[in-house]
């Protein structure tokens, strides 16, 4: 919930607020905080989200800066024209007739420059995000299965959805705001210099005082945020945690108790959050204060100068238009600070997102090391017929099967040629749609072949899948049981033409289905090579060759 405060609270500007923000982001994105001691990174190529994003952003960000500087200059031009116009009219001096038109044209041009700058930010950020996504897609495509499985799936998906955008906002929007925080006040000060160097000096001198205040507030905020993190960090994600756990809470009849506890904890967390916000909003208040102070001081000095009551160097003998110009430009001096502080959450989120992506995609892959046991095994496969890998649980059956299928980096013996391979297992992929689409998604088979394949594995008389081939499987097969997935995978394999790798294809099935799967696999073995990893003696009995793995002391690699 803090996150929301960041988005609205205009004034987060000090890096020290990061800690406060961290807990929320971890909650929101479901990330684990980085380990205290950073793990030794792999020797090979590192994934650097920030580096990549900066390269893609390069030209675009520079263009944004040019446009934003142009906007600032046009705004100054408008202020100059307007001040001159109003000053001259009030003093009844001669006004060049084009002045009003020029002011209007300048403000129009300023809006257009602003529009282009904003659109350029959007376009560049979008390009950066797409570039990052593409890089991640390439990385994912080339990772060995082992490494992908080691990634936290939920965290990876959320990272893919949200992190590219956050990193892009950091390297484009935030970076532009940071640069403009240096350039904007400089341009404004130069404009003041043209009229009165003393007034330029006044706003410039106010700046270090403002920064001292920032530092003081930042220090306090840092302490408070740390204290909050220590005391309440755990309570940050209670709402989403309880929504996630609702079925468990209901099953244990803890609904009322949890509801009351949730209310108490949200309350405690909110109270503490307010304590931190009280200080955090001071940042914005400081910018406001100095901007207001500069106007108040300048107005008084300039007023005294006009009245001729006091001879303040630089503030007397000015024309009205000059004083008005000073008054209009002084707030512009402070505006970039405010814009930068609004970008604060972009910085915190972007940095955390980049770090998370780097961690996810750091190349921790070690070369595949076949254990001595695997080296001793003849890995060549026959052109047709069944090979059974047997052995007790944990002997490494699945590891060997994966080695043969070439999913863990090193290519398997059958890779290249001999048709499209199939993998049969309870984790087989099922495309969205109907049974027919799930079975045929990878083959251009006619409806007769589809139906034969489905029938041979008993999919057409499954009580849980009424409707035969046109029965819908839920989104991405979410509602299917392991056994149903397995049978769909076998049907798919029937329609493919390459080698087949089957991981425990009969384990989660009732006797009749298991028998039909055995029959189907035996038929397929007549024309194709099939490797099965199995506990099922009846299935192993159908094999031409058996690889019997001895029990291992340590657990299996999977």
């Amino acid at each position: 919930m803090l996150d929301a405060c960041y988005q609205i609270g205009f004034g987060w500007s000090h890096p020290n607020t990061f800690n406060l923000h961290k807990a929320t982001m971890y909650e929101k994105w479901g990330m684990m905080p980085p380990a205290a001691e950073s793990p030794p990174s792999g020797l090979s190529t590192q994934f650097s989200a920030l580096g990549l994003a900066r390269v893609v952003a390069g030209q675009g960000t520079r263009m944004v800066l040019v446009l934003q500087a142009l906007r600032t200059l046009l705004k100054l031009g408008f202020s100059g024209c307007t001040a001159l116009l109003v000053g001259s009219l009030v003093m009844e001096a001669d006004v060049p007739p084009w002045l009003a038109a020029a002011a209007a044209a300048l403000v129009g041009a300023c809006a257009i420059a602003g529009l282009f700058a904003d659109r350029r930010v959007v376009a560049t950020e979008s390009r950066v995000a797409t570039g990052l996504s593409d890089a991640m897609a390439h990385r994912l495509a080339s990772m060995p299965a082992r490494q992908i499985q080691a990634l936290p799936a939920g965290g990876l998906i959320v990272a893919m959805q949200r992190h590219p955008e956050a990193v892009a906002a950091l390297v484009v929007g935030h970076r532009a705001a940071r640069t403009m925080m240096a350039a904007g006040p400089l341009i404004a000060a130069l404009a003041l210099l043209l009229v009165s160097w003393q007034s330029a000096l006044l706003v410039v001198l106010l700046t270090p005082v403002m920064i001292i205040f920032f530092a003081l507030v930042g220090e306090t905020l840092h302490r408070r945020a740390e204290a909050q993190e220590r005391a309440f960090g755990r309570l940050a994600g209670q709402f989403s945690d309880r929504i996630r756990a609702l079925p468990t809470i209901l099953a244990n009849h803890a609904l009322q108790a949890e509801e009351a506890k949730l209310a108490r904890r949200l309350d405690a967390y909110a109270a503490n959050t307010m304590g931190v916000l009280r200080i955090a909003f001071l940042n914005a208040a400081i910018i406001d204060f100095f901007a207001s102070l500069s106007i108040a001081m300048l107005a008084v000095f300039l007023g005294l100068g006009h009245l001729g009551l006091a001879r303040i160097p630089g503030f007397h003998d000015l024309a009205l238009w000059q004083s008005l110009f000073i008054l209009m430009v002084a707030p512009d001096f402070f505006a970039p600070f405010r814009r930068f502080s609004e970008q604060y959450h972009a910085k915190a989120e972007g940095e955390a997102a980049a770090a998370a992506l780097d961690r996810l995609f750091e190349d921790g892959s070690r070369p595949f090391m076949p254990s001595g046991m695997l080296e001793a095994i003849d890995l060549s496969l026959p052109a047709a017929g069944m090979v059974a890998i047997t052995g007790p649980s944990g002997a490494g059956k699945t590891t060997l099967l994966r080695r043969l299928a070439g999913v863990d980096g090193a290519p398997g013996p059958m890779s290249g040629g001999r048709g499209r391979p199939s993998w049969i297992g309870t984790d087989s992929f099922v495309a969205d749609g109907t049974i027919a689409e799930a079975i045929g998604s990878n083959a251009d088979a006619g409806s007769t072949r589809l139906e034969l394949a489905a029938r041979s594995v008993g999919l057409l008389d499954d009580a849980l899948l009424p409707g035969g081939l046109s029965a819908r499987v839920g989104a991405n097969g979410a509602s299917l049981s392991g056994g149903q997935r397995l049978r769909i995978a076998v049907a798919r394999a029937i329609l493919a033409d390459g080698p087949i790798y089957a991981d425990e294809p009969t384990a989660k099935l009732d006797a009749a289905s298991a028998a039909s799967i055995r029959r189907a696999l035996a038929d397929l073995a007549a024309s194709r090579p099939i490797v099965v990893a199995t506990h099922d003696p009846k299935l192993a009995a159908l094999a031409l060759r058996r690889i019997d793995l001895p029990p291992r002391v340590h657990g299996a690699a999977t």
Binding site: A4, K28, A245, A263, L266, L277, L307, L324, W423
Partner: protein, 528 residues
């Protein structure tokens, strides 16, 4: 925050509105007054009036407005967040309670176990939580500011009104169409969800996909879908940029318009001072309107989020704890129970069911044969089947109150071990005894004892499953339903723990499903 409860935020919202209006007024008056002041003194300085000009009152007013603007803005932020956080607590607690009534909760596959769905949901909740602060208050304040500007313009330079009104109408139309850009925003969200779904199912099937050479194309497709969602979002932001550009014209052009109109109406010299006041007020109002496009976007997000959250709501009556306590039934019977699939369709032939105290029942069947659904049906979670007891009949709702259902994918709450055991009134010795029975003593001591903090990710699947079984041992409900109690446990440990549990639960009606346990001594087996 000490005071919560319905309406306690109202006072803070009132402060917020008042302070927001004061802050805006201070900013506008500060701009107008300082320009008027400079003009006045410049005119006075030309003559002897300089000596009599009351310099102090406007000077003091300018200082007051400057301080007032700073203070009111700070106060507005604080009060606004205070109000929004108070509402947020109330809203979230209410949402939690209403989600507990959602029918989807008791059916198969609670989507919020999935992190991407949960994250989207929390985003929606937040969009609603903070919509008042992001959309409501700024809209109101802006309207007050514009109304004052228009009134002042009508008074000092009525000729300027038509162009200002035209610009205002154009800005409002643009903002309105942005606030109704549902199509783009919804498409972006849908694509994002689709991409996440594809990626999720690809990730669970990475080995088969790799083996078949489909992993690369599929993961690419999923990520491309996410990129398309990003591009849709970018389209929305481009529209935002147009609204902002249009809004940035409003202040400056109105200012020029007022001065020009006053001059055309014959104002010269001192007579222009008041129009200059109004013109610089418009300028200050224009500055305050920077980033205006955030407001219609906040409205848009709020509407979409409410619709999304509304999908979960349900009208079904409270499902838990509302029933009168029944005595503990000794047996439950059903002559022919029509089993239900997770989506509510009938499944298979009616099944006679007899469940008795002291005779544990094992549901055996292949994966996908409907064991979990049958357990939920017995627990009264799905279906409305009455069952017979010795004394009469027991409907689904009271059965739900009498049974503890041990789901195989039960969650660990981010909380203490004690809270996770859901046995608030039991003595510590009882808790430790239950933990010992599921062989978790050492692990819990390592985690910091009963008051140690655990989360889903700090426990392994097997440890989570055992903690889940400990919850059952500490429950006093007479009907105990265990879904795959030995899942994630190795065979020996599973057998040991199950035997211990059957022994301790001998006085309850016990039903368990398993595809590994063959049967239990003195037990019944139902094959599905």
């Amino acid at each position: 925050m000490t005071e919560t409860g319905p309406g306690s935020s109202r006072r803070w919202w009132r402060y917020t509105i008042a302070l927001a209006v004061v802050a805006l007024l201070c900013a506008v008056l500060l701009g107008g007054l300082s320009a008027w002041f400079l003009g006045s003194v410049a005119l006075a300085g030309l003559t002897a009036a300089a000596l009599t000009f009351n310099f102090h009152i406007p000077g003091a007013l300018i200082r007051l407005l400057a301080i007032g603007r700073t203070a009111a803005r700070y106060g507005e932020r604080l009060a606004g967040h205070r109000a929004a956080l108070t509402d947020q607590i109330e809203h979230r607690v209410r949402l939690f309670a209403s989600m507990a009534q959602a029918p989807a909760l008791r059916r198969a596959g609670w989507q919020f176990g999935d992190q991407a769905t949960l994250t989207d949901y929390v985003d929606d909740v937040e969009d609603v939580d903070f919509s008042r602060l992001r959309a409501g208050i700024p809209t109101f304040t802006g309207a007050v500011g514009v109304a004052l500007g228009l009134a002042a313009t009508a008074w000092v330079a009525p000729l300027a009104l038509p162009p200002i009104l035209a610009m205002l109408a154009a800005s409002m139309l643009a903002a309105r169409s942005l606030a109704h850009a549902d199509a783009v925003w919804t498409r972006s969200r849908t694509l994002r969800r689709e991409g996440a779904g594809t990626l999720g199912s690809a990730l669970t099937s990475v080995v088969p996909l790799k083996a078949e050479g489909l992993w690369g194309p599929l993961s690419h497709e999923a990520i491309e879908t996410l990129s398309r969602a990003d591009r849709d979002y970018a389209a929305l932001r481009r529209r935002q940029a147009s609204v902002d550009a249009l809004a940035s014209l409003l202040g400056p052009l109105s200012a020029l318009g007022v001065v020009a109109a006053a001059w055309l109406a014959g104002g010269r010299g001192a007579a222009l001072l008041l129009p200059v006041f109004v013109a610089f007020g418009w300028l200050a109002l224009g500055e305050a309107a920077a980033g205006l496009s955030r407001i219609p976007v906040a409205w848009l997000r709020r509407r979409t989020a409410s619709r999304e959250l509304g999908r979960w709501g349900s009208a079904s009556p409270p499902a838990d704890g509302s029933c009168e306590p029944h005595g503990a039934p000794q047996a439950l019977r059903h002559p022919g129970l029509q089993r239900l699939a997770p989506d509510g369709r009938g499944l298979g032939r009616p099944l006679p069911i007899i469940l008795e105290v002291g005779r544990p029942t094992v549901l055996v069947g292949a994966s996908g044969s409907g064991k979990t659904s049958l357990l939920k049906q017995i627990a009264g979670w799905i279906g409305e089947d009455p069952m017979e007891t010795r004394g009469g009949r027991l409907d689904a709702a009271p059965r739900m109150a009498l049974s503890v259902l041990c789901l195989h994918d039960a969650a660990i709450l981010a909380d203490t071990v004690r809270a996770n055991l859901f046995a608030g009134t039991r003595a510590d010795e009882d808790l430790w005894a239950a933990l010992a029975a599921v062989e978790l003593t050492d692990r819990i001591i390592e985690a910091g004892g009963l008051d140690g903090w655990v989360t889903q990710s700090t426990l392994s699947l097997g440890e989570a499953q055992r903690l889940n079984l400990a919850r059952v041992l500490l429950s006093d409900r007479p009907i105990v339903l265990l879904d795959e109690p030995t899942e994630h446990l190795d065979a020996d440990q599973g057998r040991r723990i199950l035997d211990a549990m059957v022994g301790r639960l001998a006085d309850r009606i016990l039903v368990l499903s398993s595809h590994t346990v063959g049967g239990l001594p003195q037990g019944r087996t139902i094959v599905l």
